[in-house]
């Protein structure tokens, strides 16, 4: 039991997870499952962005789905209407995410808590209305079809599902790696300090505005990049991508896995995406299940799977030996830190 628990948090676990992801296409039953997995990875990337601004920094950004749609639309408009290749358009989508994120962040992050959430809700709605109404640029409610898929430069064909799966997996690993680097760095700790208390963080000499804008821009770049990939694989997008449901889906992914934890967004996304697949008939009405599920999670289980696991492990270690606890806190400072964070979050 003890070994299992320790294995789950060891570096070997990461290698095992990557290995599992690499062999998945060979064990999957059919191509459709690989396709669903690739889509889940794309949403997970967006969820990681959400985790930075909401999980680490504590600001509920309800326009996150809107930034996903901006990324998707930048790729779609540049490739279809302006004849760009996919890769430059993909880079442009992330640049657009950063620029729009910066502009929105500078205005919205002056607001606190409720005002920020309401303001970003309105920003999300503005993005949706613009995509829907500005027909000259966005094709209006018809959406954009035949988006150029990523070029393989004659070596790989990314219109095939399996190569695309690996491409998305590459970006997911990159996204998680970057997220873990951020989370363990001074910047990540600064974000968590801001989440714990604005005023306390400020009294420690933290520049609130600069750090919040940084977290916001990072999160929108994640979202826009995920949107760009989404446009490349689905190759059809419409204004519906910017609807509040997607932001809500991302919140669900994050909460189920564990908000503010490193592996939470991935775990949550995979669980919910596959659950939805198994309940195919529910697709349209999935909110009848997920709405109450989310309310129950928030009331009874706010730390999610990973968060609860980490705090359970922390309590267990503390019970076993008080001396061991202080030792482990030095060696595994980071992990323990997360436990306490998770505890604070709850």
């Amino acid at each position: 039991m003890n070994r299992l628990v320790e294995f789950l948090v060891s570096p070997a676990m990461k290698i095992l997870l990557i290995a599992l992801a690499l062999v998945f296409p060979f064990v999957a039953g059919d191509e459709y499952q690989i396709y669903v997995m690739a889509l889940a990875f794309i949403w997970a990337i967006a969820a990681y962005g959400f985790n930075i601004i909401t999980g680490y920094c504590g600001q509920l950004n309800l326009a996150h789905g809107g930034f996903f749609a901006i990324g998707a639309y930048v790729v779609a408009i540049l490739t279809v209407d302006h004849g760009w290749a996919f890769w430059p358009a993909f880079v442009a989508s992330m640049v657009a995410g950063a620029v729009f994120g910066f502009l929105v962040g500078v205005v919205s992050l002056r607001l606190k808590e409720h005002y920020f959430a309401i303001f970003t809700l309105c920003v999300g709605y503005i993005i949706y209305l613009l995509l829907d109404k500005w027909e000259e640029v966005t094709h209006g409610s018809l959406g954009i079809i035949n988006i150029t898929p990523p070029e393989g430069f004659g070596l790989i064909d990314f219109t095939e599902t399996i190569p695309f799966y690996y491409l998305v997996l590459f970006f997911l690993v990159l996204a998680i790696w970057l997220c873990s680097r951020i989370s363990n760095s001074l910047v990540g700790r600064t974000f968590r300090a801001i989440r714990t208390s604005d005023d306390l963080a400020q009294s420690l000499g933290i520049n609130l505005m600069r750090n919040k804008v940084l977290a916001f821009v990072l999160s929108t770049v994640y979202a826009a990049g995920a949107g760009g990939l989404y446009a490349g694989v689905v190759r059809f997008i419409g204004p519906a991508e910017a609807e509040i449901q997607h932001t809500f889906d991302l919140i669900t992914y994050m909460l189920v896995g564990g908000i503010g934890t490193l592996m939470g967004p991935l775990l949550g996304t995979l669980i919910i995406m596959w659950l939805t697949q198994f309940l195919q008939s529910l697709e349209e009405y999935r909110m009848i299940v997920f709405g109450p599920l989310l309310v129950l999670l928030v009331i009874f289980f706010p730390m999610g799977i990973i968060g609860s696991f980490l705090s359970w492990r922390g309590r267990r270690a503390a019970r076993r030996s008080p001396a061991h606890k202080t030792l482990s806190r030095v060696t595994e400072d980071d992990q323990d830190d997360k436990n306490r964070e998770a505890g604070n979050n709850a």
Binding site: G58, C122, K133, F248, V295
Partner: protein
Amino acid sequence: MDLFFQQVLNGLTLGSIYGLVALGLTLVYGILHVPNFAHGALYMVGAYISYFVMVDMGLNYWVAMIAAAGVVALISVLCERLIFHPLRHAPPIHDKIAAIGVMLFLEAVVQMHWGADFRRMPTPYTSILHFGDITLPAQRLLIIVAAFSLMGLLHLYLKKTMTGSTIVAMAQNREGAFLVGINANRVAMMTFAIAGGLAAVAASLFAPINLVYPAMGHLLLTKAFVIIILGGMGSIPGAIIGALIIGFAEALGGFYISGTYKDLIAFALLVFILSVKPTGLFTKGVR
């Protein structure tokens, strides 16, 4: 000039509806300090219930409106009891997420039951009144009269009755209200019931000149938030003034500037105001 007055009348109609919805939102915010993202969904459910009672059951328009107000008030109280009350000590991010969960749940239930089609609700008042060159459909007159009499009634209730005063007291000072023995649960339930009822009445009034569909609450909810930020969150006169400002801005802006983008006017106003004054127009300090 007649066209201008016509738009002023349209603005007054819009403002009355927005006012009823924003009043509920601001009351709830004043008591619990929760931005109730499910409020737009309550409005939508209200429209569907009155549609159902009137069209499917063939009952009178007023019966339908009262039934809708009753049902939605009940749903609203249930939300308070089952969701917001248990979350009252949770971090602020949690009740917002829960409220969004309720919103999407209600929408999904309505969509499953009645489908996603756009419906138009009939009205018994189809005559059109003429004042010189200005025309005023009777339904719009009804909206304006009903909305302002409800606002008047609410004002009397809050100022002149004991139960109404407890709501005001709790909004003004929570601890102080507890000290003089006000029952917080009762006040919270009452506030949610009033908020839900107002939303349902607004929906029943507005449905005949608008469309009924599951996502109808989204736009109205975001506008109601704009209104209460404009008017100061928790302020009752602020909500009514804010609603009239947005109503006139939309009617006049939609006519003189651009009909396609008229829904954006409220948000552009919000972005502008919050960029200049991050705490809203009439607030004294950040809560």
